[in-house]
């Protein structure tokens, strides 16, 4: 019963401006005959100088607008690292290794088994070779080998897909949170691909799983200052040096979920490339809850009692993530939501705060603003929580769940695997809007909104999903018995 009024309300508010314009034209049209009686009367009031000044002012305003308009940032293409089958860690093998390494702590083993059973990871996720050993004993050389493998492989794919020459790269941003050697990973990339000596390279470390979108934001800002430039963003997490060797339960989770992955993204502000670009970047919104003590301490890298370094996750992680998402939504909402949803939200807010009405907080329907959702595949719990909070259907979170299943939690690059999934399924059409949401330690919630520039075909171009997309989506039971 409520459907018809709601739909008419939606149409009325969303096309508000168009309706007003049409009304104005009608009014003007009706009142023109009123003016027709004294045409020359009007012209006598206008002098040549006034007219010229008016037109010059209009032209100046337009020029001012175009010159200071933010440059549109285009995403030409991106490539995700596809691990070789040699690195595969089947479910049962991971559980078996965990059992052997933690043999003296049956409670930790039981906890780990519970995580594995409910993790949402599939049978094809990959770990770097040094972590296949019992016990793993990786050194710095191994970590560098992994970064070579992941980053160069993704970069080679990117060059192949776009035809870009490494010497054309003006800006290079690398984000890798937990491995930060000297020379930096960005220097490693410059060295490998023999980039120009005036390339602007940046290396972001320590910024957690949301660092991928921070890098995109950084690239966007740099592309405002540097005209006609290409920027390459590399998002990855090198897990070789970060295998936790201890027994603390709060630190075991990353071992179970983190897997190898990486992505390389090519951005540009060249207007000549806008026909070739896959996406244009509409917004990047960053929310930092670090000023709140609980949020700040919920994900910490520290040493346990025995001196093993690991990443401790607090029990209220989900609550903090939900709160940071709310903060992010309240900023992004006005930018992307249609007017109808915004008004509903405002009325609901005013009703609750000023009129003290007993209403449930209105959560705007983001399905009206976006066609595709890429939620950081941090774990099944994260995706479940966001699906609930944003009232999304299983189809909307399919990309996130399937990326988690096939590749595991690849940290900052997971958003790109998810976007790759949507493309590989042939679901990305011109004009579609995609929302990427990343969470990270700090506690940060960052989101990026992309608009698809052209229909993207699901071609087999050597991408990460090529050989397995036909098997997806898979149905995942809640608990997988080992």
């Amino acid at each position: 019963m409520l459907k018809f009024p709601k739909q008419s309300y939606d149409h009325l508010i969303n096309h508000f401006y168009s309706i007003i314009l049409i009304l104005l034209i009608i009014i003007f049209g009706i009142s023109i005959p009123a003016f027709q009686r004294t045409p020359f009367h009007l012209f006598n009031h206008l002098s040549f100088i006034h007219g010229l000044a008016f037109y010059l002012l209009a032209i100046s305003i337009l020029m001012f607008y175009f010159l200071n308009k933010p440059r549109t940032v285009y995403l030409l293409d991106f490539a995700c690292f596809k691990p070789s089958p040699v690195l595969r860690v089947p479910f049962a093998t991971a559980a078996e290794h965990g059992r052997i390494i933690l043999a003296s702590q049956p409670k930790s083993i039981a906890f780990q088994v519970k995580i594995f059973e409910r993790s949402g990871l599939g049978e094809e996720t990959c770990l770097p070779h040094p972590l296949h050993y019992l016990p793993p004993n990786p050194n710095m050389m191994d970590a560098r080998d992994e970064s070579h493998l992941v980053i160069f492989s993704a970069m080679d794919s990117l060059f192949r897909q776009t035809g870009l020459d490494p010497k054309d790269i003006d800006i290079l941003i690398v984000n890798c949170s937990l491995f930060s050697p000297t020379p930096s990973i960005s220097a490693m990339v410059v060295n490998k691909y023999k980039m120009r000596s005036n390339v602007k390279s940046f290396n972001l470390s320590g910024m957690g799983c949301s660092a991928g979108l921070i890098s995109i934001d950084f690239a966007k800002n740099l592309l405002q200052v540097h005209p006609e430039a290409y920027a390459v963003v590399i998002s990855t997490e090198i897990i070789t040096p970060n295998s936790y060797m201890g027994k603390e339960r709060s630190m075991l989770l990353p071992n179970c979920l983190f897997r190898m992955g990486g992505a390389a993204i090519l951005l540009t502000n060249k207007r000549s490339q806008r026909k070739h670009a896959k996406y244009s970047l509409l917004h990047v919104i960053r929310t930092h809850k670090g000023s709140d003590e609980k949020s700040y301490r919920c994900v910490t890298q520290e040493e346990d009692k025995e001196g093993h370094v690991g990443i401790a996750l607090n029990l209220d992680l989900m609550v903090i993530a939900a709160n940071s998402l709310k903060a992010n939504i309240s900023t992004i909402g006005p930018l992307v939501l249609p007017l109808s949803e915004q008004l509903l939200f405002v009325f609901n807010l005013m009703g609750r705060k000023f009129l003290k009405l007993d209403l449930k907080p209105y959560i705007p329907d983001f399905k009206k603003a976006f066609d595709h959702f890429c939620i950081h595949a941090g774990g099944r719990a994260v995706i479940d929580e966001l699906q609930k909070n944003l009232r999304l259907s299983p189809e909307h979170v399919e990309a996130s769940r399937m990326a988690l299943h096939r590749f595991g939690n690849t940290s900052s690059s997971s958003l790109w695997y998810e976007l790759g999934y949507i493309e590989a399924k042939g679901r990305m059409k011109k004009g579609d809007r995609a929302w990427q949401i990343g969470f990270g330690s700090g506690f940060k919630c960052n989101s990026a909104v992309w608009k698809c520039n052209r229909d993207i075909e699901a071609t087999k171009n050597g991408g990460a999903w090529d050989d397995c997309i036909h098997r997806y989506p898979v149905y995942e039971p809640d608990v997988v018995k080992l």
Binding site: S84, P85, V86, R88, V89, P90, F91, A92, T93, A95, E96, H97, R99, I100, I101, A103, S104, E123, E124, H129, H132, Y133, L134, P135, L482
Partner: protein, 446 residues
């Protein structure tokens, strides 16, 4: 890390002799699994014969001299293995128990445990020593259990020698299949290294559905070829009352002819085959070494070529026959013993299967070593395991976890040795010296 340190210490702590340092060092353990999803968690049922053999383990060591593994890094090796195991995923599974308690294999792609090691000595130096106990350093000595659901069925050890030679040690759980089956499995790896893959993955012979007989009021006694042991539960291992020792002999073709002539002297024709001659000789010498206290019955295991098919791992292609006599073996005529083995050996496989299926509790048996057991492995293609075109210089084969009566294995000789047979004898150590001297005195075999 209890199991891990136990494994490492078992490997490192095995001394060749108490005053020499362990020549094998730098041990690293990892797991190799099928590179592509292969087993799909399918349940592989085990046949009754599989369960009969479950307490035994086959330990192979293939010695490859230098060019075979040159330039073949551990990552290359593992890559070939990931590809190999996608076509041979059953041995990569792990055991589970059905509701009735009967074990089966869950093909969950858990994988094969790989041990990398190095050796201080050169390959030639190692092989020259002719010390059989040395082989145990180059092959894992794992058993199934006590962590039943997480015990690997197959383990492989790759040891690099100082000169560049490499040994490949494989530990194979007999529950999967016999020596032919194990060779079929490892040869698939050799083919995978050069990029050849089989059309079908390795499969297990389908177990027949057994009609369970109602338990008879008077259960018949166990067949003589088996030894019933106390229920082993989840740890598939037994211990011996006395320490067993292994030694090997090389018997050339001319010596075999001489033995045949000596045994069949009156008849003039050679009616007894070389394998049976060896059985006769050793049976009689053991009887003499035990000073006439048996053994009255021996078990003979031979290959049953009718049941053997390519690409299948099975325990149904080996006959288990019992030969029994009431006469004194030490004093019998060797020809009589030979004829007994040839004509009076009774294949007990059906009886063994019935005995197991009859009992709800699925009893645990030892087959090898329940009696003095002779195993004919002359046809097993040990030396056809070619890695990058190179055959092994020597292959050592042993059956582990056997009964106290001992086993005698008749094996083919290495390619660069004179034609004949290798005979490997495992007996309680207090009988070995006597046996060796009897062999020398009576038959001139050293």
């Amino acid at each position: 890390m209890r199991h891990l340190s136990l494994q490492i210490s078992l490997l490192e702590g095995k001394m060749v002799s108490s005053d020499k340092p362990n020549p094998v060092y730098d041990i690293r353990i990892s797991t190799v699994a099928p590179g592509f999803i292969s087993g799909h968690d399918a349940a592989q049922e085990l046949s009754t014969m599989d369960l009969a053999m479950k307490l035994h383990y086959l330990r192979f060591v293939f010695y490859f001299p230098s060019p075979a593994f040159d330039g073949f890094t551990i990552l290359n090796i593992k890559e070939s293995m990931f590809n190999w195991l996608s076509h041979a995923y059953i041995p990569c599974g792990r055991f589970r128990r059905s509701d009735s308690g009967r074990p089966y294999i869950k093909c969950n792609d858990s994988g094969v445990r790989i041990i990398e090691a190095k050796c201080h000595l050169g390959l030639d130096e190692w092989l020259e020593s002719r010390d059989d106990s040395r082989n145990t350093l180059l092959v894992p000595n794992n058993v199934i259990g006590p962590d039943f659901t997480f015990s690997p069925l197959v383990m492989i050890q790759l040891t690099k020698f100082k000169c560049g030679g490499t040994s490949v040690g494989m530990s194979w759980s007999h529950v999967l299949g016999d020596a032919f089956s194990a060779m079929g499995f490892i040869k698939l790896w050799a083919q995978a290294i050069v990029g050849h893959y089989p059309a079908q993955p390795l499969t297990m012979a389908q177990p027949q559905v057994h009609a369970r007989n109602c338990q008879s009021l008077n259960p018949s006694p166990d067949p003589l070829s088996v030894k019933r042991v106390d229920p082993v539960g989840d740890l598939w291992s037994t211990s011996n009352t006395s320490k067993l020792e292994t030694f090997s002999l090389c018997i050339s073709t001319s010596e075999l002819i001489r033995l045949q002539a000596k045994i069949c002297r009156e008849k003039g024709e050679r009616k007894i085959s070389p394998f049976e001659c060896i059985c006769v000789v050793i049976w009689q010498c053991v009887a003499k070494a035990r000073q006439g206290l048996g053994p009255e019955a021996v078990t003979i295991c031979r290959s049953d070529m009718r049941n053997r098919a390519k690409g299948i791992i099975t325990n149904k292609s080996q006959t288990i026959s019992l030969v029994k006599t009431d006469l004194s073996v030490a004093k019998s005529d060797p020809m009589e013993l030979g004829l007994l083995i040839m004509n009076q050996a009774v294949d007990e496989r059906m009886k063994i299967e019935e005995t197991i299926e009859r009992d709800d509790e699925l009893p645990d048996f030892l087959i090898y070593g329940a009696n003095l057991t002779f195993v004919d492995l002359s046809d097993v293609p040990f030396y056809e395991m070619e890695v990058r075109g190179q055959k092994p210089a020597y292959v050592n084969y042993a059956i582990d976890n056997i009964g106290d009566e001992g086993v005698v294995l008749v094996l083919p000789t290495p390619k660069n040795c004179p034609d004949g047979k290798m005979v490997s004898v495992t007996l309680p150590e207090n009988q070995v010296v006597e046996l060796k001297s009897t062999l020398k005195e009576d038959w001139c075999i050293a």
